[in-house]
């Protein structure tokens, strides 16, 4: 997303000669490349050490099925990071949308084809609310979403108390279990959404404007970009993606309760940040975010395969991220020295 999406068709002759070499070197040094390498190596290593169990259809399906939501939730955070803000409410919002949709299907008798877009709309609406609060009060989004997170948390619990909803929609749950070409449908859907997000940021006018606002708000404003609109758009999109995550959760899990989303806040930051998204805004990486989610999922599965204590996993994940941080800094230093 950062540099790899640029596919210049022609270049002035002066630089053309060195271009392929430069591009190759740049690709190799990009954080996406590192992530691809880690993901591939990790996956192969895990496959080898589990005697190929990783490649059995059940394991693969479980692997990708539970990758869908972290991917989407990472993207939901990424779109606000793109404007240099944060959305602490993504996790609870996912839970809230899931609970409302389940409630709509079970207690209001709404059919799934209505409840699903309803959940997404709800997410977008709440996101828009976050955006409006940020724009009108000019309070830091971190704090605004901290407050709305508390509110949504209350609402999420209010839907059904501590109870669990089950059997809301046979069709939706079938979809959650279905596979296409060996991949779970939920994962493929997540990929489609990710592609959409990539397209939005790479190719569309609002997407570019949003990134410009994130990169240098003042410059964007002077170029006629409305930063307020970018903020609203980013938060709405974030909410919409949380709604999508809610729908995927509903489909794949078969039961939901007010705890849905509690596990999403930290991963929502981990994925884009490991994926190379700058917290300062202006840079996004859809591929990096998805790859980071993939790597985190690998850690999960490794833990299950080898029955490692979860606490060790936390320790290892923390250490690995710190390691990536350090290696990134070292890589940068090396590349600077060599150039």
């Amino acid at each position: 997303m950062t540099s790899t999406i640029e596919t210049p068709t022609e270049r002035p002759t002066a630089t053309a000669a060195s271009a392929p070499g430069v591009r190759l070197r740049r690709t190799v040094r990009s954080s996406e490349f590192t992530l691809v390498a880690i993901a591939v190596i990790g996956f192969v290593a895990l496959t080898l050490t589990t005697d190929g169990n990783m490649l059995s259809s059940g394991t693969l399906a479980a692997f990708f099925r539970f990758l869908a939501v972290p991917m989407i939730i990472g993207l939901a955070q990424m779109v606000v990071l793109a404007i240099g803000q944060m959305n602490l409410s993504v996790g609870v919002l996912t839970g809230f949308c899931a609970m409302v949709a389940a409630w709509a299907m079970l207690e209001a008798g709404l059919p799934a084809p209505l409840a699903v877009p309803g959940a997404m709309l709800l997410g977008a609406a709440v996101g828009l609310g976050n955006g409006l609060l940020v724009v009108f009060t000019r309070i830091n989004a971190f704090i605004v979403t901290l407050a709305t997170m508390t509110i949504i948390d209350g609402l999420r619990y209010g839907v059904n108390g501590p109870g669990t909803y089950q059997d809301y929609s046979a069709g939706l749950q079938e979809l959650g279990q279905a596979s296409l070409l060996g991949f779970p449908v939920v994962f493929l859907l997540a990929c489609v959404v990710a592609a959409g997000v990539w397209f939005f940021f790479a190719r569309t006018v609002p997407g570019r404007h949003l990134l410009a606002s994130g990169g240098s708000p003042f410059a964007a404003r002077l170029s006629g970009v409305s930063n307020d609109r970018s903020i609203l758009l980013a938060h709405t999109l974030s909410g919409l993606l949380a709604g999508v995550a809610a729908v995927l959760t509903l489909a794949q899990s078969g039961s939901v309760n007010a705890s849905i989303g509690d596990d999403l806040l930290l991963p929502s930051f981990a994925a884009p940040i490991i994926g190379g998204v700058a917290l300062a805004g202006g840079v996004v990486s859809v591929l990096g975010t998805c790859l980071a989610a993939f790597i985190v999922r690998l850690v999960d599965v490794t833990q299950a395969q080898f029955a490692i204590n979860r606490r060790w996993v936390d320790l290892i994940v923390g250490a690995v991220v710190l390691g990536v941080v350090l290696s990134g800094a070292i890589r940068q230093k090396l590349s600077r020295r060599s150039s």
Partner: protein, 350 residues
């Protein structure tokens, strides 16, 4: 938003004359605090019950003010410390271990805990300074690592989750107020023993950022790291120091909470993260660095705790409670924002 700067006397007088009272952020907070107390007292007279409301509230304010100061220490740089809670937990573990294994007295346990926190903070600071990676990322990763480490340590050194005993005198910190101590007929006020510890911390941090060279240089680093470097400030050292201070204060908060809860346990610090941001931000400290307000942080803590206590007294159910906490917070923040905008419109810096 500046750390309580006193302009030179004649200017101070001139500015004070120009400045409407409500335009002072600290006064705004005090007014808000009083309004909230008045509101809750009207709704629930029990709000002024000394033994059951005011004393426990002071203990909580003491703990969370230190938590807020811990975050403030790095907000001064424009950094964040996502690992406040876990640094507190590690400190509490160290203090507990000192007591459990070496039978160390209270003060040694406290110092050991503080040292542990400071070291962890310094570690985070060192990584940030060395790699230049965003503090959010580094401390988040550190938090993850420490979550794991804390419980592994407790699993190794205790029968699972907590140390059995407390050093002598620590229960007194929890249970006693100065009213329990009398010289002749004169007894102290109904203030818990924890409060002065937090007060000393607040004064220390205030002194640091207002008058000390190190504190000011930290603020300058937060304001513009490049310019700081070119002004001869050892920027990396200041980053490490600010994070170490954050860790130290997190450690102190962990100790105070352990005293308040009555044990050194793995759960210490679990709920620190959000309040740690809330108090400084409510108090007017920006997330961009370069300026802090210690008094504001303490007031911010006071306001959040009063809101919690008041809503608790109103006996809301879970969902309503959360709803109202969020709404009241938003309202408080928006009011402050409104004050700021009005002040700006009148041409006075707020």
């Amino acid at each position: 938003m500046k750390q309580d700067d006193n302009p030179s006397p004649p200017e101070a007088a001139r500015q004070a004359a120009r400045l409407p009272l409500w335009a002072n952020p600290r006064i705004g907070l005090v007014v808000l605090l009083i309004a909230l107390i008045a509101l809750f007292t009207t709704l629930r007279p029990a709000f002024l019950n000394t033994q059951l409301t005011l004393v426990p509230m002071q203990s909580d304010i003491s703990v969370y003010a230190v938590v807020g100061l811990s975050q403030l220490a790095v907000l001064s740089l424009g950094h964040m410390n996502m690992a406040v809670g876990r640094m507190a937990a590690m400190s509490a573990f160290a203090a507990g271990l000192l007591h459990d294994r070496l039978d160390a007295p209270l003060i040694v346990c406290l110092l050991g805990g503080l040292a542990t926190g400071a070291l962890l903070g310094a570690l985070a600071g060192l990584i940030i300074a060395r790699t230049g990676v965003n503090s959010f990322v580094v401390t988040l990763a550190l938090d993850f690592a420490l979550i794991g480490l804390v419980s592994l340590l407790y699993a190794t050194f205790t029968d699972g989750v907590a140390f059995g005993g407390l050093p002598a005198g620590m229960s007194a910190l929890r249970t006693d107020t100065f009213a329990d101590y009398c010289a002749g007929d004169v007894c102290g006020p109904e203030i818990p023993l924890l409060a002065p510890i937090a007060l000393v911390a607040a004064l220390g941090v205030g002194l640091l950022f207002r008058w000390s060279r190190i504190g000011r240089e930290v603020l300058m680093t937060g304001a513009n790291a490049k310019a700081a470097l070119l002004s001869g400030i050892p920027v990396n050292l200041r980053v490490v120091q600010a994070h170490a201070l954050s860790g130290l204060l997190a450690g102190l908060a962990g100790f105070l909470l352990s005293a308040n809860n009555g044990s050194f346990s793995a759960g210490v610090g679990d709920g620190f993260l959000l309040p740690s941001f809330l108090a400084p931000v409510l108090g007017g400290t920006l997330l961009v660095g370069g300026a802090v307000s210690v008094l504001g942080t303490v007031l911010g803590t006071g306001i959040t705790q009063v809101i919690y206590k008041g809503l608790n007294l109103l006996q809301f159910q879970v969902d309503e409670l959360k709803l109202y906490i969020g709404l009241v917070l938003l309202a408080a923040l928006s009011l402050d924002r409104l004050r700021h905008v009005l002040a700006e419109r009148r041409g006075v810096p707020a």
